[in-house]
C-alpha cells in the first residue's frame, strides 16, 4: 500500500503541469465562449507522448494524464484517445481525438464529435469503431463546456468495424476516464472557488469566513480528494468493479458540487465571463456518460452481490485477440 506517486509518476505530472501552465490563459476572443477546445494543446499533448501513457507506461499513468489535463480550462479529449482507445485497442493506432457514445445516443448531440477523428460506439456486448472522415457533422451550441456535434445523417453501423465482446471494457475505461477528468476539473474548480471566497467581502468579512461556506467547501474537497484516489485505484487494478465505484462516486457528488461552487460565486457564477463554468460544465457533461449514475451503481451491486460477479482481471488481455 503506497498512496504517493513514484518519482517517475511525479516527473510525468510535473512535465504535464508545465505544459498546462503555458496554456492556462483563455484567449481574449474566447472570453464569452461556452466551450473552448484548445486544438494546439490537444496536438501538443499527442506529440509529446502524454496521450500514449496508457500504452507506453500503464493505465494509472494514463489516468494521471486525464486528471492533470482535466484541471485546465480547455476542453480536450484525453479520455477517448488517452485511455479508452489505447486500452481497448493496444495494437491499433486510430485517428484521434476519439469520441465515445452509447449506441442509443447516436442521433443526439455527441461530446467532442465535431473535433474527433474516430467514434467508438458502445453497442452493449460489442463496440463499433467508426472513422469519422467523410461524415457530415453539424456543430452544436450548448451550455456544456465541451464542443458537441451531431451527425447530419444518422450513420449506419452495420458496415462499421466491430470489436466483439469489448463493450464492458469500453464502459470500464470510459468510467475511469470520467472519474479522472471530473476529479481534475473539480480540484481546479474548488481551488478557484476558494480563491474567490477569500477575496470577495460581504458584511465586512470574506465570504469564505462564514462557517456554512467553509463546511460545504470542505465536504466538496473531501469528495474530490476521495475521487482522485478511487480513480487511481481503478486505473491501477483494471477491475470493472473499481471503475464502477469511481464513476458512481463521481456521479453521486456532482449535484452538491455544482450547486455549492456556483452558489458561492453569487451572480458572478452565472456569467460565462467568469471561468468557473469551464470546469463545472465539463463535469456536468460527463454526468450521464457510460450509463450515468444508475448504471454504475447497479454495476457495483451486480459485482458485489451476484454469485457470477466474481472479479475479472485487467481487460486489455481479453480484447487483445481482436
Amino acid at each position: 500500500m503506497d498512496l504517493q506517486l513514484t518519482e517517475e509518476q511525479q516527473a510525468l505530472v510535473a512535465a504535464l503541469q508545465d505544459i498546462m501552465q503555458d496554456h492556462a490563459e483563455l484567449p481574449q476572443e474566447r472570453r464569452l465562449s461556452y466551450a473552448w477546445h484548445d486544438a494546439g494543446l490537444q496536438t501538443l499533448l499527442g506529440e509529446s507522448g502524454f496521450l500514449d501513457a496508457a500504452r507506453e507506461i500503464g493505465p494509472l499513468e494514463a489516468a494521471l494524464v486525464v486528471f492533470e489535463a482535466g484541471k485546465g480550462i480547455a476542453a480536450l479529449d484525453t479520455i477517448g484517445c488517452g485511455l479508452v482507445a489505447p486500452l481497448l485497442l493496444p495494437d491499433l493506432r486510430i485517428e484521434g481525438p476519439v469520441a465515445l457514445v452509447d449506441r442509443r445516443d447516436l442521433g443526439k448531440a455527441i461530446r467532442n464529435l465535431s473535433i474527433s477523428g474516430t467514434l467508438l460506439v458502445d453497442c452493449g456486448e460489442d463496440v463499433a469503431l467508426l472513422p469519422l472522415a467523410g461524415f457530415a457533422i453539424d456543430s452544436v451550441d450548448s451550455i456544456f463546456a465541451f464542443p458537441y456535434g451531431r451527425f447530419a445523417e444518422r450513420p449506419d453501423l452495420s458496415s462499421a468495424r466491430r470489436l466483439p465482446g469489448a463493450g464492458a471494457a469500453m464502459r470500464q475505461w470510459w468510467r475511469v476516464g470520467i472519474a479522472a477528468e471530473m476529479a481534475g476539473a473539480a480540484d481546479a474548480a474548488i481551488a478557484f472557488t476558494i480563491d474567490y471566497v477569500k477575496q470577495r467581502h460581504v458584511f465586512g468579512r470574506p465570504v469564505g469566513s462564514f462557517q456554512s461556506v467553509q463546511h460545504r467547501l470542505v465536504q466538496r474537497h473531501g469528495w474530490a480528494k476521495s475521487l482522485y484516489y478511487l480513480t487511481m485505484k481503478a486505473a491501477w487494478s483494471g477491475a470493472e468493479s473499481d471503475a464502477a465505484i469511481a464513476a458512481c462516486f463521481a456521479q453521486t457528488g456532482i449535484q452538491s458540487l455544482m450547486f455549492d461552487l456556483h452558489q458561492f460565486h453569487g451572480g458572478m457564477g452565472v456569467t460565462i465571463e467568469h471561468l468557473l463554468h469551464f470546469w463545472t460544465y465539463r463535469i456536468r457533461a460527463l454526468q450521464a456518460e457510460a450509463g450515468g449514475l444508475s448504471a454504475s451503481a447497479l454495476a457495483i451491486a451486480e459485482r458485489r452481490w451476484t454469485e457470477a460477479g466474481s472479479e475479472v482481471d485487467a481487460v486489455p488481455a481479453r480484447v487483445a485477440g481482436l
Binding site: 500500500m1 503506497d2 498512496l3 504517493q4 506517486l5 513514484t6 509518476q9 494509472l60 476558494i194 471566497v197 477569500k198 468579512r205 470574506p206 469564505g208 469566513s209 462557517q211 461556506v213 467553509q214 463546511h215 467547501l217 470542505v218 465536504q219 474537497h221 473531501g222 469528495w223 480528494k225 476521495s226 475521487l227 484516489y229 478511487l230 487511481m232 485505484k233 491501477w236 487494478s237 464502477a244 465505484i245 469511481a246 458512481c248 462516486f249 453521486t252 449514475l293 444508475s294 454504475s296 451503481a297 447497479l298 454495476a299 457495483i300 451491486a301 451486480e302 458485489r304 452481490w305
Partner: protein
C-alpha cells in the same frame, strides 16, 4: 502508487485472523457482539481476550521494545485495528489504552507511572475510561468545571463528568480537572475508580449500554504523584494524545459487512433482484465506503512515511461519516425490522453509529479544522 498489500502484510493479517478465530468464543457473533463493545459483558471479556492477545504479541506490537512492544510497522498496527474492528472490537475499551493512553504516558508520564500503567496496559487486563466531557463542556472542553485543589501531597477533586464510556467497569480514569482560574489551567490525573468519593450512574440511550454514564467526584483525594505532566499542561498533552486517537477508525470495514447483511436479508425476502432502486442505493453506499477506505489508507500512509501533519485525518472522518449516515438510512428504509429485533448485528451497527458524528470530536469541528488549517479559509 500501489494499492495491494505486501506478502508480509498479508501474512500479518492472516496471523491476526487466526488469533481472532482461536480466541473468540463460538457464540461471539450471537451472544457478545449484539451487546456491543462497551457492554459490561464485553468489557469483562476484553480482559481475557487482550491478555491472550498480549501473549501472542498482538496487543501492543507497535510499541517500543522497552515498553513491551515489538516496534512493528505502522501498517501492521493499522491492519490489526482493521481486523479487530471488523470482528466487533473484542478489545472493548482497550483499543484506547493501546492507541493513545499508553503512548501518552510513555511520553509524558513519570518513570513510576510508566512502570505501573504502561505495563498494566501491555498486560491486557486493565480497563480505563476517559474523563473529559462534562454537562457544560463537550465541544468547548476548556469550559470544564471539575476542580482539583492542592492540599499538601494530595489534590482534592470535586465535580462531575458525563458521557464517560466504560466508567461502570473501568479500573482507572484518565481525568481532566481544573487546577487554576485561567481557562486553560487544566491538568491531567490518573485516578483509580474505586477511590472513595467516586460514584457512577448509567442511563439508557439510543446507543447500546456502556457509554452513557455520569461520574461524580466528591472530595476525591488523589496523590500528587498521580498528576501527569505539570499543572496546566493538559492541553498540550491531550492534543498529542488525541492525534493518536483520531487516526482513521476503520468504519468502512464494519459498514460493508453490515451492508452485506442487509442485502442478504433483502434477497431472502425477494426484495432485491427485482428492485433496481434498492440495488443502486446499495451500490452507491459501497462507493462511499470505498472512498472512506482509501482516505483512511492515505492518512496511515502519510503517517508511515512521517510526512508533515495534515488535516487529512479530519477529512477522512468527514468522508466516512457520509457513508455511515447513508447506510443507517438504508437500514431504516429497507430493513427496518432489524431495529426491532429482526437482526441483532445490524441493530448493533446502527446503534453504535447513532453518535458517529459526535464522539471523538464532532463533525463540525473536523470541518472547521480542515477549512481553516487545510484549505486556508479565513477564521473570524
Amino acid at each position: 502508487m500501489e494499492f495491494a498489500w505486501s506478502p508480509e502484510q498479508r501474512r500479518y493479517r492472516d496471523r491476526v485472523r487466526v488469533a481472532l478465530d482461536e480466541l473468540l468464543p463460538d457464540d461471539w457473533d450471537e451472544a457478545y457482539v449484539p451487546e456491543s463493545y462497551a457492554s459490561d459483558r464485553q468489557v469483562e471479556f476484553s480482559r481475557h481476550f487482550c491478555a491472550a492477545l498480549a501473549e501472542r504479541g498482538l496487543l501492543v506490537p507497535h510499541w517500543p521494545k522497552d515498553f513491551g512492544g515489538n516496534e512493528s510497522a505502522d501498517w501492521d498496527h493499522f491492519i490489526l485495528g482493521e481486523e479487530m474492528k471488523g470482528a466487533g472490537e473484542p478489545r472493548g475499551p482497550q483499543y484506547m489504552n493501546v492507541n493513545w493512553i499508553g503512548p501518552t504516558l510513555m511520553r509524558y508520564g513519570t518513570a513510576e507511572q510508566q512502570k505501573q500503567h504502561v505495563n498494566g496496559i501491555a498486560s491486557g487486563k486493565v480497563i480505563w475510561c476517559q474523563g473529559f466531557s462534562e454537562p457544560n463542556a463537550g465541544t468547548d472542553l476548556a469550559a470544564l468545571r471539575t476542580r482539583a485543589e492542592l492540599e499538601g501531597d494530595h489534590y482534592v477533586v470535586n465535580g462531575s463528568k458525563i458521557w464517560t464510556s466504560y466508567a461502570r467497569t473501568a479500573d482507572w480514569c484518565f481525568l481532566l480537572a481544573r487546577t487554576g482560574t485561567a481557562r486553560k489551567d487544566v491538568s491531567i490525573f490518573l485516578i483509580p475508580m474505586d477511590t472513595p468519593g467516586i460514584s457512577v450512574t448509567s442511563f439508557p440511550g439510543l446507543i447500546k449500554p456502556g457509554h452513557l454514564n455520569e461520574v461524580f467526584f466528591t472530595d476525591v483525594r488523589v496523590p500528587v504523584a498521580n498528576r501527569v505532566g505539570a499543572e496546566g499542561q493538559a492541553w498540550e498533552i491531550v492534543t498529542h494524545a488525541l492525534a493518536y486517537e483520531r487516526v482513521g477508525v476503520p468504519r468502512y470495514h464494519t459498514g460493508l459487512d453490515a451492508l452485506d447483511l442487509a442485502v442478504s436479508q433483502l434477497r431472502r425476502e425477494g426484495r432485491w433482484d427485482d428492485d433496481p432502486i434498492v440495488r443502486a442505493a446499495a451500490g452507491r453506499i459501497v462507493a462511499k465506503f470505498e472512498a472512506a477506505r482509501l482516505m483512511t489508507y492515505l492518512v496511515v500512509d502519510q503517517r508511515v512515511k512521517q510526512m508533515p501533519p495534515s488535516t487529512d485525518a479530519n477529512l477522512s472522518r468527514v468522508v466516512a461519516l457520509d457513508a455511515v449516515s447513508d447506510l443507517m438510512n438504508f437500514i431504516a428504509e429497507h430493513v427496518p425490522d432489524c431495529l426491532a429485533g429482526g437482526d441483532v448485528l445490524l441493530e448493533d451497527y446502527y446503534r453504535i453509529n447513532v453518535p458517529a458524528g459526535i464522539t471523538g470530536g464532532t463533525n463540525e469541528i473536523q470541518l472547521d479544522l480542515v477549512a481553516q488549517r487545510g484549505l486556508g479559509l479565513p477564521r473570524v
